[in-house]
């Protein structure tokens, strides 16, 4: 399921702290078109320079799309309480995503909530 929401991040691109990732610029993501996706985890990649959740999202017509959701490095996630087993294949998640500008099914994961409503570790 996909929901489109108006701009959640108040900052324009120039004011986004784009140096946060010591790997690449976030200009590849469009924070003005934040999406809410609900789907099933196919894979959780606990890695550096980024971790990824592969989320399979089913559309109303039954077609499935696998999204690549980029996160911070595993070291950053560890500090936030995540572990390699925090997300497992088959888990149901609802996530907020800043989508890729090129239209590919991927984006920057900014929030993840489990099926029982638990927000997975992030700063208050």
């Amino acid at each position: 399921m996909i929901k489109r929401k108006p701009l959640v991040r108040a900052c324009g691109l120039l004011l986004v702290p784009f140096a946060a990732l010591a790997h690449h610029s976030p200009s590849m993501f469009d924070g003005s078109k934040q999406l809410t996706l609900s789907g099933t985890v196919r894979e959780f990649q606990w890695s550096n320079p980024h971790s990824y959740i592969q989320l399979v999202v089913k559309a109303a017509d039954g077609t499935e799309t696998e999204w690549s959701l980029e996160m911070g490095a595993n070291a950053y996630l560890y500090n936030l309480g995540w572990r390699p087993s925090t997300v497992k294949p088959g888990d149901k998640l609802t996530v907020k995503v800043d989508p890729l500008r090129n239209g590919s099914p991927g984006g920057l994961l900014v929030e993840a909530v489990t099926a029982d409503g638990k927000a997975l570790g992030r700063r208050p």
Partner: protein
């Protein structure tokens, strides 16, 4: 060679003399265990996205209001417009000192190491040595650092830093003539205050003084280094995209 450059060079040599004179206060007199643990620049702790949450502070080392001269302003504006198609392997100096990357400070009697989660390493020699002479020194990403203890304050003098944006796309465009002095002091059990003063005859109109604070990196008691084996970022039409997972 300009008069300003000569003045900067004199200031640098003078600071080395001061460094040598101050070596009497050594790391052995410090409570080195107090510096142990994992630290992070205050206000820059990343969220799950890898970015600090919305509303976080801006990077002090990316301050458009720094005392840039005409050349520095030109370089700063160019740096801000670029970088969307570049990768970095770490932060380099000085950005690693104003970053969302946790780091450790290992104090020993003759040397202090500053190491971050991206394996950026600074070797700060506190054994009374001076910087190597010009012919034995060249610009590097982390520069050449010597230090001394001024009471409970670690004073770090760094020169020969390669133009920072060459390594990390988002960094102050200082020249290789820049001279950095940091004064790091433990201020309570969970805080380090630092004053960084940068002089650069090429890009700055006057010394740039920054106040930085480091706090304990919550949630960890160790530095977690890893390689880039799962790098899925690739340039597509001038902007990065995410490549499919390797299966």
């Amino acid at each position: 060679m300009s008069l300003r450059y000569e003045l900067a060079r004199f200031a640098l040599l003078s600071s080395v003399v001061v460094l040598n004179a101050g070596v009497a206060s050594s790391a052995s007199a410090q409570d080195t265990s107090a510096w142990q643990g994992v630290w992070i620049a205050d206000g820059l702790t990343p969220d799950i996205s890898g970015f600090p949450p919305p509303g976080s502070r801006w990077y002090k080392l990316l301050d458009p209001q720094a005392p840039w001269n005409e050349e520095g302003r030109k370089r700063f504006d160019a740096m801000m417009r670029s970088g969307s198609d570049r990768k970095a392997n770490g932060w380099g100096f000085p950005m690693m000192m104003d970053a969302g990357a946790p780091f450790e400070i290992l104090v020993t009697p003759h040397k202090t190491l500053i190491i971050n989660v991206y394996r950026d390493v600074r070797h700060v020699y506190t054994d009374a040595r001076a910087h190597p002479p010009d012919e034995e020194r060249w610009p590097t990403t982390w520069g050449d650092s010597v230090g001394r203890w001024d009471g409970d304050t670690l004073v770090v003098d760094t020169v020969s830093v390669r133009n920072p944006p060459l390594y990390f796309f988002s960094a102050p465009p200082l020249s290789e003539q820049a001279h950095y002095v940091e004064r790091l002091r433990k201020n309570g059990p969970d805080r380090i205050d630092s004053v960084m003063t940068i002089e650069d005859p090429v890009t700055l109109a006057k010394p740039w003084v920054l106040k930085l604070t480091y706090v304990r990196a919550e949630g960890t008691d160790r530095l977690l280094n890893d390689d880039y084996a799962n790098d899925r970022s690739e340039v597509d039409g001038g902007v990065f995209t995410i490549t499919p997972p390797k299966r």
